[in-house]
């Protein structure tokens, strides 16, 4: 059985705005999944439903065999964390230390261990020297790192990133993405809602939502291989995939899915001729 199973879920904020309409998919443990789609395509709604922050109106979601509902939610939240978009609105404690402690207090971690855990995870996100900083003295990227540390400290199996890098400057974005890839290597199941096409190319699995419906779900290179289909819903195609398409039209097949590999392939191609 898959770690996360979403079956025919439906959510409407009111009669005129159906956010999620009959979406089904399943995600395996330890995979890195990106969710893309335009604003208003239902990405955040879907994330909130998985995290149990919005009630599922129709259909069902099971996580680790447990149905997401009011009864199981406390149990499920021990395995699942979510990092939101706005760095300021998820900083609960008055200092970095207190913020990481917040989740541990909820998890009833013994006080003797709290300090050690806080220091361990602050070090993991590179904020060991900032433990007593207040949020107003941290950059957006640092605040997001605190949020990630706070969630990692609770040792979840799944972490959802709801456009966690969209309000950050390029440096902050890079740092957070680095951390996300690192999580994936630690066998944590990552679901990342993103507009960052390069990040999508790095993921194992890509879900495309359009107007609340599941438009595609596949490996990113397969999703982007059908460029025409994506253009129909006005989604960007990564540069590498665009180059591939041009060559495909000239009956030349390229294998690489990243810039470096493509450069390698292209100069070899040139020297063969």
């Amino acid at each position: 059985m898959s770690l996360i199973e979403v079956k025919n879920v439906y959510y409407a904020y009111n009669e005129n705005s159906v956010a999620i309409d009959d979406v089904s998919f399943s995600l395996e443990e330890g995979t890195y999944t990106t969710v893309i789609g335009h604003n208003g395509s239902g990405k955040s709604t879907l994330a909130k439903m998985i995290a149990g922050l919005l009630e599922i109106q129709k259909g069902s979601i099971t996580i680790n065999g447990l149905a997401v509902n009011a009864e199981n939610i406390a149990r499920i939240r021990r395995d699942l964390g979510i990092v939101f978009q706005n760095p300021d609105n998820q900083f609960i404690g008055s200092t970095v230390r207190d913020d990481i402690a917040f989740g541990l207090e909820n998890k009833l971690v013994a006080v003797e261990n709290t300090e050690r855990i806080i220091e361990e995870y602050a070090a993991k996100v590179g904020l060991s020297d900032h433990l007593d900083y207040e949020p107003q003295n941290l950059s957006g990227g640092q605040k997001q790192r605190v949020a990630i540390a706070g969630i990692m400290a609770m040792k979840p199996k799944i972490i959802i990133f709801d456009e966690a890098t969209s309000m950050l400057d390029p440096k902050g974005k890079k740092e957070i993405k680095q951390l996300m890839y690192q999580l994936a290597e630690e066998e944590i199941t990552v679901i990342s809602i993103t507009h960052d096409i390069e990040e999508v190319m790095q993921s194992d699995n890509c879900i495309v939502l359009n107007k609340g419906k599941l438009f595609m779900q596949d490996k990113p290179e397969k999703v982007f291989a059908d460029a025409e289909k994506l253009r129909k819903i006005n989604l960007d195609i990564p540069f590498v995939m665009q180059v591939k398409e041009v060559f495909r039209n000239k009956k030349i097949k390229l294998k690489a899915n990243d810039l470096k590999g493509m450069a390698e392939e292209l100069w070899r191609l040139n020297s063969k001729r």
Partner: protein, 266 residues
């Protein structure tokens, strides 16, 4: 703008900083009585020396205390004028036409001023040496007895600490909205009353809408990290009384005893 919000915390290490916030809060309450009871200068002298010692042990510098007096200067002058015009007892110090300044007017004013200065020094001392969060914990502890009547002390303390944490964020937001509105031609400084009200509205409406949005998102973030209102939680911050805290409270009570003594016998 940050300085206006709360007596500012000075992040250094000192005897006063290390005291348990509960001891400091109890000490403050005791000292309020010690300051307002006596009518003898001896009591004020004794309390004044104690306050000075506390200030020195807190290492926060006289300058900050003097700064905190500044807003009071106008009030003190006003007090003196009122007393000079109304108090007609004691010796006449000097006369000017039909006006006579009596010694009691001067004494009364001085008493009030000394009391106020001592009070301000003590509260500044408290806020400068205690983190807002610790103060919240101390207040929560003092409210504990109310739990008998189902008063949610823990939730209230959490609320207060979140409110304190968001003050700088909201101030930042206010400045940002003001700048945005200024760039659209809203004038916050000039104009008559009605145009001023409408320009303030252009600040308040977006400020509230953003604040509510923040509140929703924060609630989601708290829930996502396993917070259930009213549920059991472990506590990362645990306050512990030390010998020095009892020593501090003892001194405050001694000061109160002395001021009661002077009130009765001097």
């Amino acid at each position: 703008m940050n300085n206006l919000v709360f007596g500012k915390y000075i992040p250094i290490d000192s005897f006063m900083h290390r005291l348990d916030p509960r001891a400091k809060l109890i000490g403050l309450f005791v000292m309020i009585f010690a300051i307002f009871l006596p009518k003898s200068w001896w009591a004020f002298l004794a309390i004044g020396v104690l306050v000075l010692l506390a200030l020195i042990s807190a290492k926060i510098g006289i300058r900050m205390i003097v700064q905190s007096f500044k807003p009071m200067i106008m009030m003190m002058i006003f007090l003196l004028v009122i007393n000079a015009l109304t108090v007609k007892t004691g010796d006449i110090l000097f006369t000017y036409g039909t006006f006579a300044l009596y010694s009691d007017a001067l004494y009364n004013t001085l008493f009030v001023i000394v009391r106020l200065l001592l009070m301000i020094s003590l509260t500044t001392l408290l806020t400068a040496t205690t983190k807002p969060l610790d103060l919240t914990l101390a207040i929560e502890w003092l409210l504990k007895p109310l739990e008998i009547v189902k008063f949610p002390t823990y939730e209230v303390a959490l609320m207060v600490s979140i409110a304190l944490r968001f003050i700088p964020t909201i101030i930042e937001e206010t400045i940002r909205i003001m700048n945005a509105q200024k760039s659209r031609g809203v004038d916050f400084e000039n104009g008559n009353l009605s145009s001023k009200i409408s320009s303030i509205l252009s600040l308040i409406v977006p400020l509230f809408s953003v604040a509510f949005e923040r509140a929703y998102e924060l609630a989601d973030a708290m829930e996502a990290r396993g917070y259930v209102p009213g549920a059991e939680r472990t506590r990362y911050h645990i306050l512990r009384f030390h010998l020095r805290d009892f020593f501090y409270i003892f001194i405050c009570i001694a000061a109160l005893a002395f001021s009661i003594f002077t009130r009765i016998y001097l």
